[in-house]
């Protein structure tokens, strides 16, 4: 579930960036080919990132899990030492 939320956030922020920074609409004759090609390149980085996150989600969770555990252990030690 959490992985979906992170993926969604990456996509949302990415798309807002694309939409905000793109040039204004041209009322030109529609040649869909080049637009689709460029669009793929634009979203490519985001798609690659979310797919990597998705595939390695478990490893990332493990790493974060162990870091948090270590942090709480250190905190406990500090509290226990007089």
């Amino acid at each position: 579930m959490k992985e979906r939320i992170i993926q969604s956030w990456i996509l949302i922020l990415g798309f807002f960036a694309i939409v905000l920074f793109s040039p204004p609409t041209a009322h030109a004759y529609l040649d869909p080919g080049s637009g689709s090609y460029i669009f793929q390149l634009l979203i490519g980085a985001l798609l690659g990132l979310t797919f990597t996150v998705k595939t390695y989600w478990h490893r990332i969770r493990e790493i974060f899990g162990s870091i948090l555990k270590k942090m709480s252990n250190d905190k406990e030690e500090d509290q226990n030492t007089p």
């Binding site: 996509l11 637009g35 793929q40 490519g44």
Partner: protein, 459 residues
């Protein structure tokens, strides 16, 4: 000049890699020299074996048949025959959805073998033994590293856009594919889809933003030599897959969806009708059966369960959907549900009106079932017997038809709402008119019913 005895299929002209041609009713595919490297990779990489094993690609045999255009030919192959060609505007929601997922699955497997799809047209998918398969073997080509998916636009237009429209607005919007032979333009789909569809991130990107991009970069020449890594490509396919899967469809109740719960047959009448239809089918010994107004395919299965290939036509996409879901559940291979409005059947479409065949051009059927149908055509649609007879005779050799008289409760219901201008709607007139084109072989009243079942043969 020697006249060639083989003929190129008029719908097969866009791809320089090869084309389909026919010889005495048999279909062959000429593979051109330009495609040679791709064909070799397809076979040697094991991709062909993998895809055919998983029922994703149409199997073929290499043929010694002479090529239609020898100068450009590398090979001739003979693909397995598709008994009935159907088109995406004739499919129910899940049929289109399964076709979309098939394309994506093929692309995933192809990438694993160093290949990619250069086309993702919905017309490259046909139903073979109950499952959607890719029939255009030549649309697989060697994957060039760092290249984006060239078939992306087509996938969005042929699959994602119509599925989104069917899911968010109305299932009947698949009929838009009749007018838009290269899929639904994305700017059009964007305008039609409700704002709530933008909350679906896949639709937001692959339809709405994609359309914006098409518009903005319409005249650009992409100067960036696009770097699109394999990981990004996999991400794209995965995202499209999630997008398709996220589109559901809650089946509405239509006037036909609970038909069999509301019919006026008693148990005995129903069983007798089934017995008669089965017996008449036996007498005609068909290879292909068309069931017109098949609803969920109850009577179609009297033929298909015996291994006879049956096309189950119905105007109601909900009924066709139910039928198709049953086909999947039971793993049936001899029945194909198709959406078809008999009062306005699929016309010939495409360039020179030769790319997509009309309904009649895809026939005739050996035996045609027209059960519980005639009163709807005559009374609800004002069709005279003559017009119905002349249409049916063009599409079959044998006809199993049920006459539903005015005394029947369903007809009374239809007449209750309108003026009875159907002075000629009676059994005598029905037989008189149909005898012009057909020879009446059998006439059997259905027990505990006022209906009569006929077996007729085209004259």
């Amino acid at each position: 000049m020697i006249r060639k005895k083989t003929k190129i299929l008029p719908s097969s002209f866009r791809d320089p890699s090869g084309f389909l041609f026919s010889d005495k009713g048999h279909l062959y595919r000429q593979v051109n020299l330009v495609y040679k490297k791709n064909y070799e990779r397809l076979i040697q990489s094991g991709l062909y074996k993998k895809l055919t094993k998983e029922n994703l690609l149409i199997p073929h045999k290499e043929s010694l048949h002479e090529p239609h255009i020898p100068e450009s030919a590398y090979k001739v192959i003979k693909p397995k025959k598709i008994t009935f060609i159907s088109y995406p505007y004739e499919w129910s929601f899940s049929q289109l959805r399964d076709a979309a997922l098939t394309i994506l699955k093929i692309q995933d497997l192809s990438l694993e073998h160093g290949m990619t799809l250069k086309d993702s047209s919905a017309y490259n998918i046909q139903f073979l033994e109950g499952k959607p398969v890719l029939i255009d073997t030549l649309s697989l080509e060697v994957y060039k590293k760092e290249s984006p998916w060239i078939a992306y636009r087509q996938f969005c237009q042929h699959f994602l856009a119509p599925l989104a429209l069917m899911s968010y607005i109305d299932v009947r919007l698949s009929l838009l594919l009749k007018n838009h032979i290269d899929g639904i333009p994305l700017d059009f789909a964007s305008k039609l889809l409700p704002i709530s569809s933008r909350l679906n991130l896949s639709l937001l990107s692959h339809i709405y933003l994609h359309a914006e991009s098409q518009c903005r970069f319409a005249k650009s020449r992409p100067k960036l030599k696009g770097h699109f890594s394999l990981q990004q490509m996999k991400g794209l396919i995965d995202n499209l897959k999630s997008g398709v899967k996220s589109l559901g469809w809650k089946q509405p109740r239509t006037e036909w969806s609970e038909y069999y719960q509301r019919t006026n047959y008693s148990r005995e009448a129903f069983e007798h009708k089934k017995k008669l239809v089965k017996s008449f089918l036996g007498k005609t010994n068909p290879k292909i059966v068309w069931d017109l107004g098949a609803n969920v395919g109850t009577f179609s299965r009297l033929a298909s369960d015996q291994g006879i290939f049956t096309v189950a036509f119905d105007v109601d996409p909900v009924a066709v959907e139910s039928n198709y879901l049953k086909v999947k559940e039971r793993g049936e291979e001899t029945i194909l549900p198709v959406v078809m409005d008999l009062t306005n059947p699929s016309p010939a479409l495409g360039w020179a009106q030769e790319e997509r065949d009309s309904l009649t051009a895809r026939g005739p059927a050996d035996t045609l079932l027209a059960l519980a149908l005639i009163h709807h055509l005559c009374i609800s649609n004002n069709l005279p017997f003559e017009n119905i007879s002349s249409f049916l005779v063009k599409n079959c050799r044998y006809l199993i038809i049920e006459f539903v008289p005015k005394e029947d409760s369903q007809v009374k219901r239809l007449l209750s709402m309108r003026k009875d201008i159907f002075g000629n709607y009676n059994q005598k007139q029905f037989e008189k008119v149909f005898s012009d084109s057909f020879q009446i072989l059998k006439r059997e009243p259905i027990k505990e019913s006022k209906r009569i079942l006929y077996l007729m043969k085209k004259r």
